[in-house]
Amino acid sequence: MGKKRLTMRRKESIYGYIFVLPWIIGFLAFTAGPLVFSFVASFTNYNITSQMDFVGAENYQGLFTEDSLFWTSLWNTLYFVIFSVPLTTIGAIFLSALLNQDIPGMRVFRTLYYLPAVLSGVGVYMLWMQLLDPGTGMVNLVLSWFGIDGPNWLFDPDWTKPSIIFMKLWSVGGSMLLYLASMQGVSKSLYEAAEIDGANTWKKFFHITIPMITPVIFFDVVTSLIGGFQIFQEAYVMSNNGEGGPANSLLFYNLYMWKQAFTNFNMGYAMAMSWILFVIVFILTIFNLKLAPRWVHYEGEEK
């Protein structure tokens, strides 16, 4: 029996596994357990400390049929995702296109627009609460210079979610950096060839720049979609007592889930909620992945 030499292909795949091993170990040790546990516990009345009895699909049934706050929170979250994902994506592309010009002092602008992405968390929310203050805030002050009577922002249920989307737009700098990097990678020769053919700036942008950065757009849409469904902090910090008001207009899905888990101690119920969210996000992501080959262009890909 002669030892069979490993083929190149096999060797490579073994290397591959070795490289992903740390992640797999981490996943199995720290994520997979809680994941499975939460799935099992979502069929119980688990409350962390004293009870864990099997209740069948009662949690799920209760959520869908008896819990009006569940639907409110789901609607609020969908509203946020539907507006914030396209707006921040378009905003970031637009901004990076502007910052991709060759003019003096560009580095200063790039730094300025990236700054909000460095600042983050509660401090920024506090700052925006002051900016958006209806009576004394800067935003309404500026609007008043143009004769616009600004809305009540965080005090008016119709304006609370737009307020948060508006705030999110301010910090598109993070994804802007990704777009900028990929725009810089677009080969100059493509633009030169297009210019010789008489293409104007718009045509170059839509027919060269955009298709060349579609992989990054795809990445950004997928991650911000997932992130959008997980919105929590903004509402927790920016509504009175973290309750998701006024009129439950900021009661996002994760905020409601958190309240169920940690103020009502309905952990099983909250786990059922987290699995519903998981399924929603999972379906959307699969949908995205299936749709991707139709519009995402990878350079060097064989078609």
Binding site: L28, V36, V40, T49, T136, N152, G245
Partner: protein
């Protein structure tokens, strides 16, 4: 494909084993011995959220005093931020290795007792009944099915602060503040100083400082739930109260209300300090802000006005308890420390140094006589102690802990004008009844 299935089953099995380790038992039979330090003293891990430069030295002084008062127990203070402390406590209980004493919200004590997060303290209380130390309203809030699950530490109440100089200027007697809602309205109208569409001085606005729920409590003299867990919010009286609250909003207008609210929230140039607001309902600790930011303000303090004469000056309060988490291995020592923490000496020290209402009646009354307070301080503190007899707590009902999230949005809608008071109350009544039914 088969390989994949085997793989998935293996992962799932492994995961179950892993999750089993951190299970949901609270008793960790392996580690029942108490924690002991090198001096042979039992170590009590005490968690608080008092980390500010004012509060931390005070609680640590109390701990030092306790540690020096005996030689068997060593209390160790662990500070955790307010936003984290109780979720961390819960995780520690679930992991079977909780701290020994935790400061927690008094209003959810019964709920934590029901869920077996907090330890039933009746076995200690049978030996040494300290329940008479505290205001009965506070003590009752710690009970679940007759047993106590936390010992009251501090509390608060709501009183009315008013600007005496503004009273004089408006031709009112500064020693005769308003005692009924009708007087409140009358006085506020006299105190208002209008300048165009804006106000140079606002007399009073009921929803700055306290919420609509305190006014409902004030009018009804009781909370939404009776002893039998019957819930009632949809009443003619409540409708009247809500409309009364709305009438203030209509009177001053959205813009005035919002811009004042912003100044109050920002804590810079509070309108009460600058004299732009003549009266405000607040907790007595509001005095410490007056002391620090507007030391020259000539103000008075009085209980909340009553709905109508003879109705009672019912006010609202909250507070914190010291509890022993279920699964603590040093519960005997923890109990000794809690007794010290809620006894007269420590409570008086806390009350005087922090200007805070304490749960121990004797300590509260002694603090009111403390010579460490200024004249104003004594006036406010005495009123705060006096006001405890009118003060009700609203512990969360075990049957529907989150019921307010079904009322608040409707009241918001009402105050914004998209629902009538009747509709808002009827919807709240129906929604909460549904919740109770669902939780049964």
């Amino acid at each position: 494909m088969n390989k994949l299935k085997v793989f998935i089953i293996l992962i799932a099995g492994l995961a179950l084993i892993l999750s089993g380790c951190s299970g949901f038992q609270t008793n960790n039979s392996g580690g029942d011995e108490a924690a002991v330090n090198e001096d042979g003293k039992t170590v009590v891990d005490f968690w608080t959220f008092w980390g500010s430069e004012i509060r931390r030295p005070i609680i640590e002084q109390i701990i030092t005093d306790f540690n020096e008062s005996q030689d068997e127990i060593e209390v160790k203070h662990t500070y955790l931020p307010f936003g984290d402390i109780w979720t961390k406590e819960l995780a520690a209980i679930a992991a079977g290795d909780p701290p020994d004493v935790v400061i927690n919200d008094i209003n959810a004590t019964a709920l934590r007792g029901q869920k077996k997060q907090a330890m039933n303290l009746s076995k200690f209380l049978e030996e040494d009944d300290i329940s008479k130390r505290f205001y009965p309203e506070l003590w009752d809030a710690t009970l679940y099915e007759g047993d106590s699950y936390g010992i009251p530490f501090n509390t608060d109440t709501r009183v009315l602060f008013y600007n005496k100089d503004a009273f004089k200027e408006a031709g009112l007697d500064p020693e005769k503040p308003p005692t009924t809602w009708a007087e409140l309205e009358e006085y506020a109208a006299k105190l208002d100083k209008k300048a165009g569409s804006n106000y140079d001085r606002v007399g009073f606005y009921p929803l700055w400082g306290i919420g609509y729920d305190v006014w409902l409590l004030n009018a009804n003299g009781q909370s939404y739930f009776d002893d039998q867990d019957n819930f009632e919010v949809d009443t003619a009286k409540n409708e009247e109260v809500l409309n009364w609250l709305k009438s203030w909003k209509d009177k001053y207008g959205e813009d005035v209300v919002n811009s004042y609210q912003a100044q109050i929230d920002s804590q810079q140039g509070h309108p009460f300090f600058t004299g732009d607001l003549a009266m405000i309902a607040q907790a007595p600790t509001f005095y410490t802000q007056i002391r620090d930011y507007a030391p020259d303000l000539n103000f008075g303090v009085i209980e909340l006005p009553e709905y109508e004469e003879g109705n009672g000056n019912t006010s609202w309060g909250g507070g914190f308890v010291a509890e022993i988490p279920e699964g603590s291995k040093n519960s005997e020592a923890a109990w000794e420390f809690i007794k010290y923490l809620t006894d007269v000496e420590a409570q008086e020290y806390w009350a005087v140094k922090n200007f805070d209402n304490v749960a121990n009646i004797e300590a509260a009354e002694a603090a009111a006589k403390s010579d460490e307070f200024t004249e104003d301080g004594t006036m406010v503190y005495e009123k705060a102690v006096e006001n405890m007899e009118h003060t009700l707590l609203t512990p969360v009902p075990v049957i529907a802990p989150d019921f307010t999230s079904l009322i608040n949005p409707n009241i918001d809608e009402f105050l914004l004008g998209s629902m009538t008071a009747k509709e808002a109350l009827a919807k709240s009544q129906a929604d909460v009844e549904n919740l109770i039914e669902k939780n049964k």
